[in-house]
Amino acid sequence: MRKIYLTLVTLGLVLLSACDEISTDERLTYVEPPEAGRAVLIEDYTGQYCVNCPRATEEIERLIEQYGDSVVIAVAIHSGPFSKQKGEPSPLYTEVGDMYFNRWKLSSQPVGKVDRLFYSMPFGYTEWGGGVNYELTDSPTSEAPVTFFIDGDFDTETRTGSFEVQTVGLDENRISGKLQIWLVEDSIDSFQLMPDGSRVEHYNHMHVFRASINDPWGDDVTVGHGEVVTKMYTFVMDPTWVPKHCALVTFFYDDQGVRQVTKTKLNVN
């Protein structure tokens, strides 16, 4: 029996040494506010049939409020199983969005990617704040290697947009990656299932992914320090989309993830 007592005493000591009670006033750690030398892209893979997705939307609103809408740029990509019911896609679903969803091997929703960090690793929405902070402070890519100048117009009669994207190299080294341009729309009135299980018929959907203006995986761009690469794009907008609510989300990404992103409202004529 002595052996048993010895074992129990040892276990008790180990247990006590491993206690980790955190009192109320010790739960928050102050973090230096990041100096945003760049913006961060949150891809929110969401669905109108996803009851928990409005929680993720609230998290995005909170992050935008804290960091500003020029620092946190979110795109709600309606995709995945919660954008379909009995095989029928929801109104905001897109095939391209679904392709991204499958490409990143996502399954549950809501789920997102912050700057496409760690390649295929999905982020739960409670981790998005950490991801944004990491990108702005600790990340080796917290300095943007490029910046964008975007200029163009949208003709409401022909519903055609034409614009020019100038990618300017900021990095000391030549950098190669992909230039991606998405069209997003705010203030879309459509239904949404809510966390309490109810269905809101007139939910205000923000920053909804509508289409990729260029190739869904972007165009190749290589740029050196101080160099400018200019590309021209045109697109014709779907008649049901509202031009004044639309914007272009332009980003540059490489193997390390999204390196810079910007959101530009359409200049509607």
Partner: protein, 550 residues
């Protein structure tokens, strides 16, 4: 294929070759399980398109045993898995291998192992292939029986998550003492009392996750999470009672909305059985007991513990349409089961006897002063969480009342009749849909044409308010002993969708080989847990499964 992945499979063989002295007593056991689907697209039922022509979940287990040393390994081929599993499930290799030494009263395991302390409230690692769960620990375990009636266990390891292991180190210890070994009066009265105690510790880096409450403040997360469990089990002849309580320290996680409240679970379970009769009564209250080896994880993986479901495991298709497991964030659950066999020759027993089974399961949420789901409705991040009075209950999550009567009418014909009344809170469990109310009638008849030829037929109907409405189900199964079985079935939604989910199967068994080929459709469904849902898609196609154990 990378042959390096197969090296662990050779472990048992290498080990036994290295010990020629024990080769004479070596026993070999194992199994092969392979489930194959050749998927077809079906827009009507909404199947997901697969680029792979053939999907399979295939497992090969190999175990070698000897007097002092056992060893084993499992090869898994899940590179093109069946639909409905989490994406990280995909892969192949030998993720499970172990060496176990046993000498006198000590057993030592190195490698991958499964373990359960008590009812599993603080630790349960297990494999459940149909759900894609294998949360084995990889590390070391010792089981020591210093004297008769006392069992001590200690373990440490990292938990498997599909093809990797989570970084957190899980350690624990368990003791069970059978008092009748020390108090002879108990043994003399055929009374057994077992006392048990467990402790589990998770060590996960505090900075492994950065959870921000605002732009300049992140959570200070606990590096250690401790959980303990105490239990007493008393049995006297046919009577048994088990009381168990477990508690967990602060464990902010995705599941609980990153609050710092403690978790607990209490259970009381009593049973009585004698010849021809059995009774089970049990109640359980749990709150905040989701315990994972990775705090930011959602979905079905990485659970260290397991909260047993207080619901009957239904096997009939329509009775199993709306299953309920357990809500890790908190619930009150009650279950009553009663079984009785009316003897042959009595009024109700008739010539061949009659069996009666009754089950009641009732599960409710906890009461948070009118707040339905504190995680969903308010930001609990960084707080002490939500408080609920112990005996106050919230809304009904699930209820199942079913009665089953099994009666043989003649030497060749027997019938099982079942009635089930079910309430399924789809909003809580799946996130939408309200309370689904069902009444289900099932008749399962078996007729033996000859000693070798038996026909079994099922007819089921579900009167359902909510979701897709009523369902009907029919099945015919012809068994031609000892090798063949032919099955056809159809599950028909006669409510909203009018869809048929038909299936035809042929099964051939020879000794311990079993092969089944079929064609059919299966219905889709949502599987939600901890605020995040997983979709199990509909399928259509040819199926082939092979099982062999040796």
């Amino acid at each position: 294929m990378n042959p390096k992945k197969l090296i662990p499979l050779l472990l048992p063989v290498m080990l036994l070759v290295a010990m020629p002295s024990v080769n004479a007593q070596v026993t070999v056991s194992g199994s092969i399980q392979s489930d194959i689907l050749v998927p077809q697209d079906d827009d009507k039922i909404g199947t997901e398109h697969s680029d792979d022509k053939v999907l399979t979940n295939t497992y090969l287990d190999l175990n070698l045993g000897s007097k002092y040393v056992d060893a084993g390994a499992r090869f898994e081929f899940l590179k093109y898995p069946l639909p409905g599993y989490e994406p990280d499930f995909k892969g192949w290799g030998v993720p499970h291998f172990y060496v176990k030494g046993h000498y006198k009263n000590v057993e030592l395991t190195a490698g991958d192992y499964y373990e359960q302390f008590g009812s599993g409230f603080v630790l349960r690692t297990y494999e459940e292939r149909s759900l894609g769960i294998d949360n084995a620990l990889r590390g070391g375990r010792i089981v020591y029986k210093p004297v008769s009636g006392v069992t001590l266990k200690a373990l440490t390891g990292k938990q498997r998550r599909y093809w990797h292991h989570n970084d957190a180190l899980v350690s624990g210890a368990d003791i069970e003492v059978g008092l009748e070994q020390f108090i002879k009066a108990l043994e003399a009265h055929d009374t057994h009392i077992t006392l048990g105690g467990s402790w589990v510790n998770k060590h996960e880096k505090a900075d492994a996750d950065a959870i921000f409450v605002d732009a300049t403040h992140k959570l200070n997360l606990p590096k250690y999470v401790n959980a303990w469990d105490a239990r007493i089990n008393l049995t006297h002849k046919g009577f048994s009672v088990l009381a168990e309580y477990a508690q967990k320290t602060q464990d902010p996680s995705f599941d609980n909305g990153y609050h710092y409240g403690k978790g607990n679970v209490a259970m009381l379970s009593t049973s009585y059985s004698q010849k021809g009769m059995s009774v089970l009564l049990q109640a359980k209250r749990s709150e905040g007991m989701s315990f994972r080896s990775r705090r930011s994880m959602s979905g079905t993986s990485s659970f260290i513990n397991h909260l047993p479901a207080f619901t009957h495991d239904q096997t009939y298709a329509l009775a199993a349409q709306y299953p309920y497991a357990t809500n890790p964030n908190g619930e009150w659950a009650f279950q009553a089961e009663f079984g009785y066999s009316f003897k042959k020759g009595t009024t109700l027993g008739g010539k061949y006897g009659t069996k009666l089974k009754f089950n009641l399961s009732h599960v409710r949420g906890l009461d948070y002063d009118g707040v339905k789901d504190p995680v969903a409705e308010g930001r609990v991040i960084g707080s002490n969480g939500y408080k609920s009075s112990f005996f106050k209950m919230g809304e009904t999550y699930y209820q199942d009342i079913d009665v089953q009567i099994e009666k043989r009418f003649t030497r060749d014909f027997s019938l099982i009749f079942m009635y089930m009344n079910e309430r399924y809170n789809m909003t809580v469990i799946e996130g939408h849909g309200g309370m689904i109310k069902s009444n289900i009638l099932i008749a399962d008849g078996k007729y033996k044409f000859s000693p070798k030829l038996t026909l079994r037929c099922e007819l089921q109907y579900q009167f359902c308010k909510g979701d897709d409405g009523d369902w009907a189900f029919g099945l015919a199964e012809l068994s031609w002993a000892p090798h063949w079985m032919f099955t056809v079935s159809d599950m028909w939604n006669c409510g909203e969708t009018k869809l048929h989910f038909y299936q035809a199967l042929v099964t051939y068994s020879l000794k311990s080989h079993r092969i089944q080929a079929g064609y059919g459709r299966t219905d889709a469904g949502f599987n939600c847990s901890g605020g995040v849902c997983r979709w199990v898609p509909a399928t259509r196609g040819f199926t082939l499964s092979y099982n062999y154990s040796f």
